[in-house]
């Protein structure tokens, strides 16, 4: 072997071509086109003046409301992901289970005349029922489907989660039937008010406030309590957490339970807004909430909140604002395109999400 003959054969020109960051160019080009499209579409829409300022406010408030529900569901994804690195695909079903089952509680209350007789107590009961049921479903889910797979490759866990999602969905379909049912009306939720000149429906206000309280409570719980700290520790290193005296299994169950409680609460908030339940209701909000969690930076509780509200507003305002001007009929049909489009863009440019850490180290 002679060292003298060692030459590196690489024509300078080819090296140059190879070095061109094609992917970056394509991405930047793509986003430039998108940006121009969004600006043009928006300009055209505003010029047409089909919607008044009040219309936009209404859409935005609607978006924040919807986003608040996404945010609360998203927290469940984020908590579980932060600990098990599992996309708990069945979390949408946990949410559905609470809201769907509580329908019968609501009906019973309605028949007893309590629902509008003592509405606040009744609303409390509804929340309690929904949260409890969702929590139980979440705990059973963890015990039956996920615990036996602790330590398995992530693909296996994800597939299990998809299976559990289908199973739960169709179990409830079997239990309660396939049709959509309306919740009985709660009169105190009806009505409109104005805050700082912004018209807002009473139920929207309750949803937004409720979500805010839950988020703040959760944040404090995770950052300030011993259990919260244990949850974060388990998320970083299970074995060492055990070495600190933390019962890892119990912490994981607690995490699922909290995710379930929040999903149950989100279920009732959802009912306040949409007033309807069916066995399939968890699926789409579930996916959207997951999108929101990723948007904000999965594993990050605050990120889930911000991501949820952002997604809600974008979804609500985006299609009309951008697409109406482009002459596209029924822009609201394209809402999911906005949601997933945003997800794809965020992951492309900021894989860690808005609040996520940037250092996605590769080697």
């Amino acid at each position: 072997m002679s060292e003298a003959t060692t030459t590196v054969e690489a024509p300078q020109r080819r090296l140059f071509l190879q070095r061109v960051p094609w992917r970056a160019i394509i991405l930047i080009g793509l986003s430039a086109i998108l940006l121009v499209g969004i600006v043009l579409g928006t300009a055209a829409t505003l010029q047409q003046g089909r919607f008044s300022g009040a219309d936009w406010t209404r859409l935005a408030v609607g978006g924040v409301t919807r986003g608040s529900v996404y945010a609360i569901i998203a927290v469940g994804y984020t908590l579980v992901y932060g600990i098990l690195f599992l996309i708990n695909f069945a979390h949408g079903e946990v949410f559905m289970a609470g809201a769907f089952s509580t329908l019968f509680v609501a009906r019973a209350l309605d028949e007893a005349g309590m629902l509008n007789g003592s509405p606040f107590l009744s609303i409390g009961i509804l929340f309690a029922s929904s949260m409890l049921i969702s929590m139980v479903v979440a705990i059973v889910l963890e015990r039956v489907a996920y615990r036996p797979l602790r330590g398995s490759p992530r693909l296996i866990l994800l597939i299990t989660a998809i299976g559990a999602s289908l199973f739960l969905q169709n179990s409830f379909r079997g239990f309660f039937g396939a049709g959509s049912t309306a919740y009985p009306n709660i009169d105190v939720l009806v009505g409109q008010m104005s805050i700082f000149g912004v018209a807002i429906q009473r139920k929207q206000l309750i949803v937004i406030l409720g979500a805010l309280i839950l988020m703040v409570g959760l944040y404090l719980f995770i950052e300030r309590t011993k259990t919260g700290r244990a949850m974060r520790a388990v998320g970083e290193d299970k074995e060492i957490a055990a070495l600190m005296g933390i019962d890892v299994d119990r912490v994981i169950v607690t995490t699922f339970a909290i995710g379930g409680l929040l999903a149950g609460a989100a279920g009732i908030l959802f009912v306040f807004v949409f007033n309807q339940v069916n066995y399939f209701m968890g699926f789409v909000p579930g996916i959207k909430a997951f999108t929101a969690a990723v948007l904000g930076g999965i594993g990050n509780v605050l990120g889930a909140g911000i991501g949820g509200i952002l997604l809600g507003v974008l979804e609500s305002v985006g299609p009309r604002l951008v697409l109406t001007g482009a002459g596209i009929p029924s822009p609201d049909q394209l809402q999911p395109v906005v949601a997933f489009g945003v997800l794809v863009l965020v992951l492309l440019f900021r894989p860690g999400g808005i609040l996520g850490s940037e250092e996605e180290k590769r080697a």
Binding site: L15, Q18, R19, A363
Partner: protein, 260 residues
């Protein structure tokens, strides 16, 4: 002229400078050791040279060509190959298959050749396997008899060997070894010292290695480069570097300096 020449290289993570204005070179046929405390930027340097990290400043020239900004696979094809600090094999592949993957950039058959089983493809496949066995044979009886066993079934030292064999199969000019003696006992370390010598003698590689074990560094290196906090603090022969005050202060401590 140096085969691998790095000048003014810098890389930060967040606010932290992992590599800070480092000049580094390896001449043809040289064996260079990189030493330094944890977090001194040794592995980051490797990652930049092999294209896993992008750097912020500086040039990386290989055989007179600028290779900064190339993808890792392109750099491998040009002739720089590496091993990893924690052994990273393809555990579910056989020992032979692991090495055959190393031949990837030295072969070309694609989808159509494979589907149609063109004669060229068959020949190439045969050549790849022969080459892989040749690389395994370099390690005597340690690997070749186990060619058809799973990589995950190898003993720890053999895994390290297999990783080197796989890197050799890329037919590199420069071989970067990241802590080849980590987790080895004294006897195995002796063997690594001998192995590194053979790699240069028989294969003609230029070798850069990251190493913590000073006897190993002493045993193999033509030249030693010491890093601390991302900066180069000393360079020279083992004797020069091990008696350098800054190195003693940052890395070796008094006891080692005396024994050196």
């Amino acid at each position: 002229m140096s085969l691998l020449e790095v000048t003014g290289l810098s890389k930060r993570f967040g606010g932290l400078a992992a590599v800070d204005d480092v000049d580094f070179h390896a001449d043809e046929g040289e064996i260079v050791s990189v030493i330094g405390p944890n977090g001194a930027g040794k592995t980051t340097l490797f990652n930049i040279v092999t294209g896993f990290y992008e750097h912020e400043q500086g040039t990386i020239e290989f055989g007179g060509h600028n290779i900064a900004g190339l993808q890792p696979n392109q750099i491998t094809k040009l002739g720089i190959s590496r091993t990893f600090q924690a052994v990273r094999l393809f555990p579910a592949m056989t020992v032979l298959e692991n090495v055959m993957v190393g031949q990837h950039s030295r072969s070309r058959s694609g989808v159509f050749g494979s589907i149609l089983q063109l004669p060229g493809t068959k020949q190439e496949e045969q050549r790849i396997e022969e080459k892989a066995r040749e690389m395994l044979a370099f390690f005597g009886r340690a690997l070749l008899p186990r060619a058809d066993e799973l990589a995950s079934g190898l003993a720890y030292a053999d895994r390290r060997r297999l990783e080197i064999a796989r890197a050799m199969a890329t037919e590199p000019k420069v071989l970067l070894l990241d802590e080849p003696t980590a987790g080895m006992n004294a006897r195995e370390k002796e063997e690594v010292i001998e192995l590194v010598g053979r790699l240069r003698r028989e294969m003609g590689y230029t070798i850069v290695l990251i190493e913590h074990d000073m006897p190993v560094v002493k045993g193999v290196s033509d030249r030693v480069v010491a890093l601390d906090f991302g900066r180069k603090i000393a360079e020279g022969t083992y004797e020069e570097v091990s008696s350098n005050e800054r190195v003693i202060e940052a890395y070796l401590g008094t006891e080692h300096a005396e024994t050196a």
